[in-house]
Symmetry: C2
Subunit: 415 residues, 2 copies
């Protein structure tokens, strides 16, 4: 085991003990100092970011990726503003979730507590470094951050600024740490830190998430892969269907809650055709099932991969289904449990869909793009959980906490 | 991959889809039929159990273990009664956890849903086979059960009876399945069933739990290891301390919420001595720190293992601590996050202890033995979670469910 990593983990664990009992005021003071430091020391961060961007360009990285990696003064100001918003959110720690008194007089309270140390393994965008650190801090947990090598200089500069901002607070600097250098082994070592990391959150592409979920020996909160469907039911309003479809597919195609497959009821072939035309007009390539290819000859014939994988770009699989049951079965087979939507005017069809479709968010007559911490009113989020344990959907502050039972007695023993 | 296991997993997954939408009435009917079948077909089960007990005796298994393995008519009747109690518990599925309306008119409801397929890997006692199956069923999930080889005949008979009882219901028999024969490989294969098992619960000794937590590639709910402490504070009532200590240590020493280490404040050496004498009188061997060995010469000198391991028998580590801080630090180092208790008359000491000690249950002036589904009023439980994710403490029906967000709109799109 890497000695530096073990030391960082031990320091994070000790910092977490102190952070767990920090007051809301102390935590908010730290957050505001971090926000100020990020804008004040903007040049330092931009300089480091330039090194990353130059290296990426030299390696022939695509423009979209370079854009995600690039920081500007305005982007850093936005990030700092996000930190101030986290300071404004209610502190989840100490919240009494429920309380009750047992017949023997024991008073039992279920109280929200921090998780301890959160590990975060993520890709590219350096803003995640700040988001993860400040959400964890507000939720009372230390973080061990492992960003991608391509953002290493940016992340080093950002973490240095955040840690130094903590020097004027009672919160230990070690509550925020960046793990390892460019070595890949450090990820494997981090994933084996049982007893040090209480929760691991992977954030990035399907490959990264798969690797962490497969290899991790600490509990993982799986995030992000969203193979989201829109099912246009027999009783759908065609205009509403078009509006929602185009929003869900094109408003921001690269994110996890963008729609990837359109299913249309066989009785609505005309609607299907008109939706394909709307998709085309919006710049989307249609990958159709054989029936769609007959209706809309410009469609590319869909293969299995068109149903299984996220495009994260202006492509969409479109398929005719004979019934709502077939739509639900298709979603059960290909969905990733992120967000699934039905467009229908029939309450029974809506009820059946919401009951039988198993996903973090099941939407009726609403765009898939709403599955998001801000849209749900939870504030900033650390990711979207697609697993069924612990938390599902947007991971806001409450979702990255645990709880304990406090049992108060007057000498009770068990009979 | 074992073909039979894959088939069982596939069948369980399909059964789970049906079970997820079963009504409370259907599920309760199934539970009552299972309870009746267990008592009616008691002889069949007892015969199979005799094979297991004979084999265990032939292998030289100890009496305590044989006792845990043995079923009797009365024990089966108790088990059946437990099943009827689960039928009486409220159905967690469909419960609306919260609901709110967003400014754009979206109505968002957070609704409790089944997990899907629960895997259970457990040891010895055949009653766990029934408990796990019926709790999962009531919570809307199918189960794949893997008991120990030593209870194989009993488990086969019990599962046969339960599955056949389901034939007169709308719930598929495959909602309850026993995995594999005597092969050990099947456990490893079961632990790799990502996409089939939504949640794995290990239940048994520290070795079993460690193996599952280390090797499992599906989400795990860690249960059970309880290295529980009682801290007798400077301001403790000596009589209350004695009563709670003896209850926590001796009322049922083999279970996870029995106390294993006693910490006594240095100002209370006399109390420490009298507690050691009470322990001795109750048949408990004291393993003392050097100070305790001076005070109470009959103590065996404690070694590191006395602080790290559960005894699960009539032994107890006893240590003098200089302060509450030292007690909390000791618990942080050696505790397993199960149940920790302070005995004190001082509200500040109690508040500090409950705030700083991180465990599923932190008790003030109450026995550690209360951490239990029935004692908390949750009804039957599938185990006690000692991890911080998903659920902590007694795992009742609600704790073995997930939730989803149902988002109802009127055509909303994201701006």
């Amino acid at each position: 085991m890497n000695t530096e990593l073990m030391m960082q983990a031990q320091c994070a664990k000790e910092a977490a003990v102190k952070l767990a009992v920090a007051t809301t005021e102390e935590k908010n003071k730290a957050l505001l100092l971090i926000a100020d430091a990020l804008t004040e020391r903007c040049d330092e961060i931009l300089e480091a970011n330039r090194l990353d961007c130059d290296a990426a360009r030299a390696k022939g990285t695509g423009n979209a990726m370079i854009d995600r990696l690039t920081l500007t003064k305005a982007r850093i100001e936005d990030i700092a503003e996000g930190v101030r918003q986290v300071a404004d959110l209610p502190d989840p720690v100490g919240e009494e979730i429920e309380s009750f008194t047992r017949p023997n007089g024991l008073k039992i309270r279920k109280v929200r507590v921090p998780l301890g140390v959160i590990g975060m393994i993520y890709e590219a965008r350096p803003n995640v470094t700040v988001d993860a650190a400040v959400l964890a801090l507000k939720a009372g947990s230390a973080v061990l951050l492992r960003g991608s090598g391509s953002a290493l200089n940016s992340n080093l500069a950002i973490v240095k600024v955040m840690r130094e901002a903590l020097r004027d607070t009672d919160i230990p600097e070690d509550a925020i740490a960046l793990v390892g250098g460019v070595s890949h082994d450090v990820v494997d070592e981090m994933m084996s830190l049982r007893g040090y990391i209480d929760l691991m959150i992977p954030r990035g592409g399907a490959g990264l998430i798969r690797r962490v979920v497969d290899g991790c020996r600490v509990p993982v909160l799986e995030t992000g892969v969203g193979n989201c469907h829109i099912y246009v039911d027999k009783y759908a309003d065609a205009e509403m269907a078009e509006k929602i479809l185009i929003n869900a597919k094109t408003q921001r195609p690269a994110v996890c809650n963008a729609a990837e497959t359109l299913l249309v009821h066989a009785d609505r072939r005309e609607t299907a055709l008109s939706l394909c035309e709307s998709l085309k007009a919006a710049g989307v390539t249609v990958h159709g099932c054989p029936e769609i290819c007959k209706l809309f000859p410009e469609a590319v014939p869909a293969e299995e991969a068109d149903y299984t994988d996220e495009y994260l770009s202006l492509h969409m699989a479109v398929k005719i289904v004979e019934s709502e049951d077939e739509a639900i079965a298709h979603i059960r087979r290909y969905g990733t449990g992120h967000t699934e939507a039905i467009i229908t005017g029939c309450p029974d069809a809506a009820e059946k869909f919401t009951r039988q479709v198993d996903a973090s968010s099941v939407n009726v007559n609403a765009s898939t793009r709403f599955t998001d911490g801000f849209q749900f009113g939870f504030g900033a989020e650390i990711g979207i959980s697609t697993q069924k344990m612990h938390a599902r959907g947007p991971l806001g502050l409450r979702e990255i906490t645990s709880f304990k039972f406090i049992v108060e007695g007057t000498g009770q023993i068990r009979g």
